[in-house]
Symmetry: D2
Subunit: 363 residues, 4 copies
């Protein structure tokens, strides 16, 4: 229940630092009887893994996950599932400058003030490396949601700096270097990223995630609304600065007649709501969008101070993603899976007796 | 721990329906010794109260809060604080149509599917009337934060439909009919709202909230990051569709050199981060922005279905805010206060022993 | 999640002081569709109510409970249920001595040290008066458990000081002044209590509670075992100093061959386990026993100190139960109901898909 | 928040089966700056480790704990601490019978019914092997409590079957084969255990734990009382069937004048309360006692049924403690440490501002 757990009934608790011995997590609350193997989790870990192309950090981490408990004869047992990923590529090096400097836009300054000192090796706990365990845990949720309820979750790069896509071609996304679903902009993205890397700079991004076939009824108002828990989940991902559900900030300028999703016997006529009404899923697609800030580690010098309060010039060398947003795609999918899984279990607890006569509208 | 509680150490649990006997809440975890009276809470309740001008619903609710426990000789005792507001203006009327129809963009459809039936009187639990208790509870947090730590929280209307302000004049905000801090647009807002009311339509809005003098160190990564809990809090407010911290969605097109807030001995040179780094407060102002959808209750007919799956035309009569965003201002302030209060207590628990030598940068 | 909430999915949060305006609670997580009225809750409140005979405190509290929310058209809606009991008989009097003295065996000393000051009127929050709300909330759980699952919960006085009963005659229990189920000892109890009252002294008691027809499978090892949560629940009742499940402390001298409950096709051959194995219900009766200390308020003077550290002689006047254990019977039933209810919902969440082929043994 | 986490602010989450790859846990909420090494945890693990004498199971587990995260430069960083113990001695063998039979007094029957199937190897998750991680995590709490607050926690065997000790000689306890603090009964215990092993039977035990120098004020009424959380903690240990605080079940026959602990300027005159009043620590020693049932695995045949509902005769071969109570001593210490640690942090959160003038009585 301290800060490193997520979910009330499907609870994921993680540990691990960027350059420590290992990352790990415990998934508590997975229903028994789910077919599960390490390969099921490895697929998304491989999508998130660094070093798949020149546009990502060149750190070499195989991110091989081991299931240490909670699975027997190929099925989950209902007991906690322990997962472990050993860190392989923690280059032994001199951390001298980093140890004393507060890198701008990094968590160095706040960790130092919160805890009195910090594990400065590769950002320690504040590194996005921590999200590998989110992807592993999310993989369990994804499998349960699909196997038992047919719920499908997919994320994609919607915008990178000034470049926006306009098509949703999932097959292309799966072969894109950027989780980009629009073939028309792929080469533009490559060129932009190459120029950026040369410049030593970085760029922000927008990632969208969609969940399909979510049954109506998930969400526990008034505080644990489905949309509120999604916002929590997404904003807890490193570098995320904004979250939208459905129309999001476009709602500011919408009139009521425009925003409201009218209903007919054939279903909803639009989806400005993004799949939730009153914080409860409506059966429509869940539509989530988020903004990720540009990577903070830059080769271009920046002003800062050190732990003694002296002014310093900070330059980051080494292996960093010029756009952290890209690899956030499978992380965002995982977080949405965790939220839906948790709410599905909560719904089963409280509403096992509910039967309704109205036909569910799914369009 | 079910869905109607917020906060881990400063825990607010609420109950109450729009047209039930009363609204109430329990605030558990308030430190002892805080001077507290009903008048302290009434001030913000009056700011949120309906019917203060022709631009708000004309429902007449005095929203007088009673403190039922947890305060003795004018001070909090450390035991749970029970708060109660009786509902006064629940017009006895025929709910016939509403009882059977699913109003578009309302929670009727999802409540019906989740629970099998619903309290349809005035929206029941899904009504924004529930937020009165958030404001009352938030008032306790606000007072503690100010009295003990000098933390100040202020919200304002940043945009209403197409109309944006450009100045932060707090004195004007306090006399504005719209929590609008820019005197230059006040009359434009009035005209817009009058036209809207005449039209029977509604409009979205953007609300911003700022917290000043927040000490560095609040936030519990990796999941209970300060920004993640703020996103949760804001998205749990009725009608909110998007949340931003600092640069928010502008970060999508920012380069790293633009976004990073460099530091000098005189402080941070900018605040794109919005006061949090790595999910922990930095001592800079906490900057939060949110989008609210237009009110769903419209006099202009809309298509829908009823609980028997028959097509219906829905028209809402009666008393509704044409822009729910406006009165959300004190609610957003309250929610930010609840988040900060909770994290302050969590920080005290874990970091009571921490002393740091670096001067804190507050600019 | 602060200290005044109980249960993870069926969550009860209470407030209220002995001589404050009112007691109240919020029950969050009750499934929708349960038929519920105030009369359903009043029955157990009347069993707990003070002043039913000369053997109890003569404080006159009607303890009329009001349901303020969460029930519509006679059924629970799935939203939080607000309950309120107004305090009627808070005699206005001079609290002078009590305000400054630490009464032996009372919570005066510890509340003063924990919170820095205390609401001394009638013991404030530490008074057993608080348990009225547990009984009210437990009444909802009891009704759900019986209506939906046929689970029955009954408590009784097993021992009062040196006097033990030997029969379980539920009809007699219901008319006994002491929740005593053995008609043979009723008059002995009366005499003992009369003498005790004359003497100005008090006495301890043992209360047992049984739950029947509990389905196998409730309990969430390894920490939220069913027996562990029962121990938590019972020890949280004022004056309880010991809790046993099944054989309890008799297990210390039992050999394995004696303690183990062998199983045949006709069921278990004994119930030393008390209905749980490995922290999970087995389908056998849940057997709980608890020890309650003697009432701390005595007319016989005792030594203590006051808030200035001066020695004082404490004498308690006024209206007190000479045996707090007696009225604890419905409280213990209520707490067991809350535990079972919570675990039933947790089980539904996680094990909705489980089907087993083995016949359930219920004997 | 699912069943394998303990503590609200100092949260321990465990995983691992008896014959799985490894046991592990995550300790979240440890304050930063605590000096901590694996050796600090190994000491108590060695006390709990099986196979130290012929009176314990002969399974050979070195129980070497690894710290995987949360410690940097010898100090805790405030981030989650991952701990791992690899299982070494899981003999590869034929589990044929065990896989299908429900051993009496074991959790086989209930796990099967709860989850639909079970990991039967060595009891799977229901094995007491799981408690190794409690001891490891408790070691962190113990060290913090001692280093920062001088709190000392010690457990001992108070009774084994019919044999009770009468002296508290801690030096003897540390060299005893049974955590027995009374040298006078050591050889009697040896003889009793030898006879028991020969017989193929097992025996129950009583374990006591004491915490000294606990500051007054710990505990969060009304549900998270210190005594209630202790009861929860102890009853969550495998085989525990009863828990007492202070006088415990002796309170049943005590009069008020006998039970109440009078206070003088020199301190409390007795400690029937066991160190808590109103659920809050008083500064006196915390006194806890618990009953453990006899080991369920016996060489003497017992009746049962199998998963097909057929009657079977169960005989357990192999390596088992004839008295599980003995090795429960360090586990009970660990659980008390976890409770006190959690409440200490909770107290710091809520009562950081409290100052009291009354001298604290510690005798």
């Amino acid at each position: 229940m301290s800060g490193n757990s997520f979910g009330k009934l499907f609870t994921v608790t993680t540990f691990g630092e960027s350059h420590g011995l290992a990352l790990g997590c415990i998934v508590d609350g997975c229903p028994p009887g789910l077919m599960l193997s390490e390969a099921d989790l490895q697929r998304d870990l491989d999508r998130r893994r660094p070093g798949k192309s020149r546009h990502e950090t060149q750190r070499r981490e195989p991110d091989q996950v081991k299931i240490l408990s909670g699975v027997f004869e190929g099925k989950t047992t209902g007991t906690p599932i322990g997962l472990l990923i050993e860190n392989v590529d923690q280059r032994s090096k001199d951390y001298g400058n980093i140890a004393r400097q507060f890198r701008p836009a990094h968590a160095d300054y706040t960790y130092h003030h919160k805890y009195g000192f910090r594990d400065y090796r590769g950002g320690g706990r504040s590194s996005a490396r921590e999200t590998a365990m989110r992807v592993a845990a999310g993989g369990i949720a994804k499998k349960f949601l699909m196997d038992r309820y047919g719920i499908e979750i997919q994320g994609y790069l919607a915008q990178l700096g000034p470049i926006k896509g306009h098509r949703l071609d999932w097959a292309h996304r799966d072969q894109s270097l950027f989780f980009n679903p629009d073939p028309a902009i792929e080469s533009e993205l490559e060129k932009y990223m190459d120029a950026l890397r040369k410049e030593g700079n970085s760029i922000g991004a927008r990632i969208n995630v969609i969940a399909r076939h979510v049954p109506p009824g998930l969400g526990e108002p008034v505080f644990d609304r489905l949309d509120a828990d999604i916002a929590h989940a997404m904003m807890s991902i490193n570098a995320v600065k904004g979250v939208e559900i459905g129309a999001g900030f476009d709602a500011v300028t919408q009139k009521g007649t425009e925003h409201r999703d009218e209903m007919t016997l054939d279903g909803f006529l639009s989806n400005h709501a993004g799949g939730t009404l009153g914080g409860i899923s409506s059966g429509q697609d869940i539509l989530v969008s988020m903004a990720l800030k540009p990577t903070s580690s830059l080769r271009i010098p920046g002003q800062s101070i050190d732990i003694d309060g002296e002014p310093v010039e900070v330059v980051t060398h080494g292996r960093h993603d010029p756009c952290v947003g890209i690899r956030a795609t499978p992380i965002a999918e995982a977080m949405l899976a965790l939220v839906l899984m948790d709410h599905l279990l909560r719904h089963r607890a409280q509403n096992a007796d509910v039967t309704t006569s109205t036909p569910v509208i799914t369009k």
